[in-house]
């Protein structure tokens, strides 16, 4: 597409972000150039269409307040976890992503965490349950690795 104003000038002009001097230069050019006047009309139209479509897309993708509240509760329990647990969980996620894929690995962790909080008190139960589930899914060796990774958090918990 041919254009006489530079992209930076166009962007600034359409956003109303040009200096007064640049603004008068752009306006003088538009007054003299029919092609750029058409282009300006088209840019304004595209901006309106894009802004409207983006607003609708964001509305459709909006989260429910209850989702945000649940996430905030998870956040609070996560930041109160000792660092050892956080690091071990990260290592477990990494290991299980390799064994089962990211999504399935995450779901197994969630399933193992269903009956107990992942905190200092519930850590051993959680690891025992997760290790059992992984042994069933991927074999005893994989279950033993989960137990081993879980034990790495224990010195900090003791």
């Amino acid at each position: 597409m041919k254009h006489c104003l530079s992209p930076e000038m166009w962007t600034g002009f359409l956003d109303g972000a040009l200096s007064p001097n640049e603004e008068s230069m752009a306006e003088a050019h538009l007054a003299a150039c029919a092609h750029c006047r058409l282009l300006a009309t088209e840019f304004v139209h595209v901006e309106d269409v894009l802004t409207g479509a983006a607003r609708q897309a964001k509305e459709r993708a909006a989260l429910e307040p209850a989702d945000i509240r649940r996430a905030l509760n998870r956040f609070h329990s996560q930041i109160r976890q000792p660092r050892g647990i956080t690091c071990c969980l990260e290592a477990l996620r990494f290991f299980l992503a390799g064994m089962l894929g990211t999504s399935a690995g995450g779901k197994v962790i969630q399933a193992a965490a269903k009956q107990t909080e992942i905190d200092e008190a519930g850590w051993a139960d959680f690891i025992g349950r997760l290790s059992g589930m992984i042994a069933d899914l991927c074999g005893d060796g994989a279950g033993a690795i989960v137990t081993y990774i879980g034990k790495l958090a224990e010195p900090e918990l003791a």
């Binding site: 930076e8 595209v46 609708q56 209850a66 956040f75 999504s103 995450g106």
Partner: protein
């Protein structure tokens, strides 16, 4: 549920950067968590994973928040952490069939979270991958030009050029597909 339309984003960021308390960050969380979930959703991550990754991003931001002092740097930094988290997941999950990456150019048409005939994604599907990234950061994530430049490590002029070029191509596409009037 609390009404989150009270203090502005700027006020909340200021409050967290000044006090560094868990309460201040909770208020910030309520505002930014949906934005970061949306960030991942619009880049092809399915709901549960998008929410899990957003959680990881905000925990990392809370823990490393002391490194940020200037309010204007907070949003670009937050989105940069999200971008790095996305890259990390993509590296780990190259062969995970449940995860779709934006690096697959056909992906934008297959995002589960969004309705099939999403107008915005349809419109930007005529653009290159780079241009789409910039347009999503601008129109969906609501970042300013300098924030986009900071997140993508690009000069501001390049960001403006990509947005200008993207709009030109979308304009041409809309013109071509406009119904002809008799």
């Amino acid at each position: 549920m609390a009404d989150f339309r009270g203090p502005s984003e700027h006020d909340l960021i200021d409050c967290f950067l000044t006090t560094r308390t868990e309460q201040a960050f909770s208020d910030l969380f309520a505002v930014f968590y949906p934005q970061i979930v949306r960030y991942f959703s619009f880049r092809g991550f399915m709901n549960e994973l998008a929410e899990e990754m957003a959680q990881d991003v905000l925990v990392a931001v809370f823990r490393k928040g002391s490194t940020i002092r200037d309010r204007s740097l907070f949003r670009p930094w937050l989105f940069k952490v999200a971008q790095n988290t996305m890259r990390q997941h993509l590296r780990r999950s190259r062969n995970d069939p449940n995860l779709r990456s934006l690096e697959d150019t056909a992906l934008l048409e297959k995002v589960d979270k969004l309705p099939e005939n999403d107008g915005f994604l349809d419109m930007i599907s005529v653009l290159s991958e780079d241009e789409r990234q910039v347009m999503i950061l601008r129109y969906i994530d609501g970042l300013s030009y300098d924030e986009i430049a900071s997140v993508l490590d690009l000069p501001m002029g390049t960001v403006k050029w990509k947005i200008f070029n993207g709009k030109s191509r979308i304009g041409a596409h809309l013109r071509q597909n406009q119904p002809e009037h008799a």
